[in-house]
C-alpha cells in the first residue's frame, strides 16, 4: 500500500546557549491514507515538534520526510494545520478566514462563484453556515476551533494536522467537537495526525496511538493499534472491556514506563 506520510530516521536538534539540544531522534513512522494517528506523551516530549516537522514549519536536522512521495521542504496546502489557539485572523469574518485558504489553493483554476461555494461547503461541514458573516470575537471558543478545522479542510489537504485542537476547550465542548470530528473524518476520508495529551481522546479517535518517550532526545516508545470498530460511540465504549484495556495500555505507558520524575 502506498504510504502517505513517511518519516525515516528523523532527528531534530536546536542550537541553544547551553549547546545543542536534541529534541527528537530516530523517529520512524509511516502513515497510511485515511489513517487517524494521535501523538501522545508528556509535555516536553517533542510531539508538537514532530507535528511542526510534518507541517514543514520546522526542518529536520537529519533524516527523510515525505508526503505522498514528495519531500517536505516547507509548509504547503497539501498539509492543512489546525492550531491549538485557532489562529483565526480577527479582522476577517469566518467566511473570509476560510476563503483566504480556498483562494490560495484554488484561486488560479476556479471561478469566484466556485471559490465562494467551496468556502460555504467547508463551513457547512462544521455546521457554521449561520455564522459565516460573524467575526471571531463574536463566536465561542468551540466555534472558532471549528472554523479553524473548516479552514484546514477547505484546502482539501492530503493530511490534516492538528496540534491539541481541543486542549483549550471545556470538557463538554471538547466531547461535542470530538464527535463532530469523527463524523467529518468519516465523511471526507481524511488522513489525520493529531497531538493530544488526553488519553480518552486518543483512544476514542485513533486508528493508531503513537506514544512518545520523555525528552530530551525523545523518540517513539510504542505504537498502539486501536482496533475498535467504527463508527465509535463514546457512551457504548464507556462499558466496553476492550476500550478499557486499550486505555489502560496508554496509561501504563505514560505513568509507569515513562513516569515523569517529580519536578
Amino acid at each position: 500500500m502506498k504510504k502517505y506520510v513517511q518519516i525515516e530516521n528523523v532527528q531534530m536538534s536546536f542550537e541553544t546557549k547551553q549547546g545543542t539540544f536534541v529534541a527528537l531522534k530516530d523517529i520512524d513512522l509511516k502513515i497510511d491514507p485515511g489513517e487517524f494517528i494521535t501523538l501522545i506523551g508528556h509535555s516536553g516530549c517533542g510531539k508538537s515538534t514532530l507535528l511542526n516537522l510534518i507541517a514543514g514549519l520546522l526542518m529536520p536536522t537529519d533524516g527523510i520526510m515525505l508526503c505522498a512521495d514528495r519531500e517536505i521542504a516547507g509548509p504547503g496546502p497539501d498539509r492543512g494545520v489546525v492550531f491549538q489557539n485557532h489562529s483565526l485572523l480577527p479582522w476577517l469574518t469566518c467566511f473570509e478566514n476560510v476563503h483566504l485558504a480556498v483562494e490560495r489553493v484554488f484561486g488560479n483554476t476556479e471561478s469566484k462563484a466556485q471559490l465562494a461555494q467551496r468556502t460555504q461547503e467547508a463551513l457547512a461541514l462544521v455546521h457554521l453556515s449561520h455564522a459565516e458573516h460573524k467575526y471571531p470575537h463574536e463566536i465561542s471558543g468551540g466555534m472558532k476551533q471549528r472554523v479553524g478545522i473548516a479552514r484546514a479542510l477547505s484546502m482539501q489537504p492530503k493530511v490534516l494536522l492538528m496540534d491539541e485542537p481541543f486542549g483549550a476547550l471545556d470538557a463538554l465542548t471538547r466531547a461535542h467537537l470530538q464527535d463532530e470530528l469523527m463524523k467529518i473524518v468519516a465523511a471526507t476520508k481524511s488522513t489525520v495526525v493529531m497531538v493530544t495529551h488526553d488519553v480518552d481522546e486518543a483512544v476514542l479517535l485513533s486508528d493508531r496511538i503513537v506514544m512518545m518517550t520523555n525528552g530530551p532526545a525523545a523518540t517513539i516508545g510504542e505504537i498502539l493499534t486501536v482496533d475498535l470498530p467504527k463508527p465509535r460511540n463514546r457512551l457504548a465504549l464507556a462499558n466496553d472491556a476492550h476500550y478499557h484495556s486499550l486505555r489502560g495500555a496508554v496509561l501504563e505507558f505514560l505513568y509507569q514506563k515513562q513516569a515523569k520524575k517529580a519536578a
Binding site: G76, R79, F83, L89, W91, L92, L100, A101, R104
Partner: protein
Amino acid sequence: MIRIKKHLAEHWVPPLIGIALFLFLWSLLAQGGGALPGPLKTWDSAVVLFSDPFYQKTPNDQGIGWNILYSLGRVGIGFGLAALIGIPLGFMIGRFGFLDKMTSPIVSMLRPVSPLAWLPIGLLVFKAADPAAIWVIFISSIWPMIINTAMGVRQLPQDYLNVARVLNLSEWKIFTKILFPATLPYMLTGIRLAIGTAWLVIVAAEMLTGGVGIGFWVWDEWNNLNVEHIIIAIFVVGIIGLLLEMMLVQIAKRFSY
C-alpha cells in the same frame, strides 16, 4: 427617571464643578489687581472676536478664523508628509532587522531633540518662513509614526505568521490581510501622538516665523498688550487639540480587535 438623575450626577456634575471652580479661581486671580483680565471680560472680547472671524484687513491683521485655518493647514501638510514617509519607513524597519539596527542609533539620537531646534535648519535650507514651519512639524511628528508602526510590525503574533506560512500566502496577501490590519492599531497610536505633538509645536514655531497663524497671532497680541486675546488663543488651541485627539480616538476605536 432615577436612572437619568444618576447619569447626570455621575457624568455631568463633577466636570461642571471643576469648570466652575476653575472660573472662580481665575476671577479671584484677576481681582487681585494686575493686568490679568477676568472670565467675563475675556468672554466679551471673545464674542466680538468670533462675530467676524474671517475679515482680512492687512496681511498681518486677519480674523481669528484665518489664523486657525492657516495653522491647521501647516500642521496638515507637515503631518501628512511625515505620515507619507514615516509609516512606510516604520513598516520596513519593523520587517527587516538589518534596517532596524541601521536606523536605530540615528532615530534614538534625533527623537529627543526639541522640534524648534530644527527651525534654523529649515530657514537655512528653504530660505522662507512658511516651509520652515512645515519642516518643524514634519520632523516632530515623524518619530512617533516610525517608532509605533515598527513596533506594531515587530509585535505581530507568531501565530498569524504561521497561518501565513501554512497557507503559503503571497507577500502581497501577507501585507494586505495580515501585516497591515495587525499593525493598524499601533499605527493609529503613532498618528495620534504625532498630531498631538504637531499641534503643540505649531504655536511655538509660528511665534518665531511670523505670518498668519494662531502662534503668530498670540505673539502679535502680546505686542499689542491685548491679554484677553492671548487667553482666548490658549482656549482655542486647547479645544482644537482636544477635538483632533477625540477624532483620532474614534477612528482607533473602529479598528481595535
